[in-house]
């Protein structure tokens, strides 16, 4: 059973959750990456792009673009199954394992994203709460 039945459900959960981060303190972390981050999803198919908004410190910290809107060339790309993405944002995925098993494919300077990883522990429970709300809606 897939977590998301269709692209709309994927965008409505993971995408909307990203939007909640744009105004949060953790949203500022995107400036440590230093460029747009593209998420490519399969089963269902989808594309979500984070585009940092200058200047650092302002709100929102980044914009969230979907599908065909996501045209800006990304600095970093993460490609994965939508199910894997859901588990990642719940904190259930070991990144090293996921890369080794090709559940997650990263293109670009991965080290820049690794800087964010320690800060995600605070984000995972918020995603889980948000996702259960989205599923109930």
């Amino acid at each position: 059973m897939a977590v998301f039945n269709d692209t709309a459900a994927l965008y409505g959960t993971i995408g909307r959750f990203f939007e909640t981060l744009t105004g949060a303190d953790e949203g500022q972390l995107i400036h440590r990456v230093g460029g747009p981050v593209l998420f490519v999803y399969h089963n269902p198919e989808g594309r979500i792009l984070w585009v940092p908004c200058p200047p650092p410190g302002g709100r929102p910290a980044f914009r969230v673009l979907y599908g065909d809107e996501a045209v800006e060339p990304p600095l970093l790309t993460f490609e994965q199954d939508a199910d894997t993405a859901d588990r990642f944002w719940r904190g259930e995925i070991d990144l090293a394992q996921a890369l080794a098993r090709q559940q997650l494919r990263a293109t670009g300077p991965l080290s820049r994203a690794m800087k964010l990883l320690p800060h995600l522990d605070a984000v995972y429970p918020r995603y889980a709460a948000f996702a259960s709300g989205a599923a109930g809606a």
Partner: protein, 369 residues
């Protein structure tokens, strides 16, 4: 001698033809086929994915009786029941001397040329045009001529249909588990592709008490066959791939040994990705020779994963087929459950279609006796 044979006239064009068959030369034997298994390798030759010279007599999993022997053949006599080996090792080349007869250079070269080791083919069209033979066998013919080492003697009374299946799929699948991966009791295994080879691997895993034994396929019918061959868990691979399911079944760790019995880059990567750190993945499936596979590079050192190839089950047919026959006699190896349907020599095309649709585990060409 005049024989009927299923001849690949050109890629994608298979038909029944009457051919002239030479008498066996020195060190060769003529075998009258009773049964021949239909294998994915035959289909790969048919499509041209396994590029070999045409015209060619297909078929390489055969069993029958010796019809005649050439000069110098001492171990076989007319009437002896035999099973064909599509890799008759020369015993003298580098790989043979290193104890790897399945990599025999002489047999491999003859196989590529579609001839016997001397460079000649025993089949001829009535016009005189030579017709190649697939992998030193050409088992889709009423009779064929093979090197003496390519005909392994069977005990009198052996079931020739079962023996035909032993000669390729069963040797390969069991050898991959026992020899290439060296699976030990209690180890977890996953088999990707539950055709004849995959189902043989599952039986081999059952015999050494591997657990769990996970079968992965896209055809529900093939998973049923896998369950009959000892699979304890069945994974129907969907659009997202089977990896998550295999991980779930192994506490998130992956299996000790994964076997790829399909021959596709995607499934080879899946099998590798489904192994636990320190595990091993064995590629048995034969992909077209121009394809590459992409794997995570960091996984090799950081997780000590091993990727192994397996050709013909690292077997020596004269040593291993008698052992498989004894296991069959003891009830540990069930070859009959692999055998789904019999076809006549002029129905090879139908047998291919049934194999591709997942309707059969192993199709067999049965020759009128």
């Amino acid at each position: 001698m005049r024989v009927r044979a299923a001849v690949l006239a050109d890629y994608g064009r298979l038909g029944l033809e009457e051919l002239d068959l030479d008498d066996p030369g020195p060190g060769e034997v003529c075998v009258r086929l009773a049964a021949a298994g239909v294998c994915h390798s035959d289909y790969h030759v048919y499509t041209g994915d396994l590029p070999l010279p045409v015209p060619m007599v297909l078929g390489h999993e055969g069993a029958g009786r010796v019809q005649a022997v050439g000069p110098g053949v001492s171990a076989l006599r007319p009437g002896d029941p035999v099973v064909l080996s599509w890799l008759p090792a020369c015993g003298r080349c580098g790989p043979c001397l290193r104890g790897r007869p399945e990599l025999c250079r002489v047999a491999a070269l003859a196989g590529e040329h579609g001839t016997l080791p001397g460079g000649r083919t025993p089949f001829r069209r009535p016009s005189g045009e030579p017709v190649h033979q697939f992998s030193l066998t050409g088992a889709f013919a009423e009779c064929t001529v093979v090197p003496e080492a390519g005909a392994v003697r069977l005990p009198e009374g052996a079931d020739l249909a079962s023996a035909a299946l032993l000669s390729c799929g069963v040797l390969t699948g069991t050898g991959a588990v026992w020899r290439t991966a060296g699976v030990r009791p209690g180890e977890s295994v996953a088999v990707f592709g539950a055709g004849g080879v995959g189902c043989s691997a599952l039986q081999a895993a059952r015999m050494v008490s591997a657990y769990p034994r996970i079968a992965v396929d896209v055809h529900p019918r093939r998973l049923e066959a896998a369950a009959a061959c000892g699979a304890t868990h069945l994974v129907l691979a969907g659009p997202g791939g089977p990896l998550e399911r295999v991980l779930d079944l192994t506490g998130g760790e992956g299996v000790d040994a994964a076997f790829e019995a399909i021959g596709r880059p995607e499934t080879i990567a899946q099998a590798f990705n489904a192994t636990r750190p320190g595990g091993r993945a064995v590629v048995i499936g034969v992909a077209p020779p121009h394809l590459d596979v992409s794997l995570n590079a960091f996984a090799f050192p950081s997780q000590e994963k091993r990727l192994l190839g397996c050709w013909y089950g690292e077997s020596s047919p004269a040593r291993d087929i008698p052992a498989l026959l004894r296991l069959q006699e003891a009830g540990a190896l069930d070859v009959r459950s692999l055998l789904s349907r019999r076809y006549a020599l002029d129905e090879v095309g139908e047998a291919f279609a049934a194999m591709l649709s997942g309707a059969v585990t192993r199709a067999l060409i049965a020759f009128a006796s």
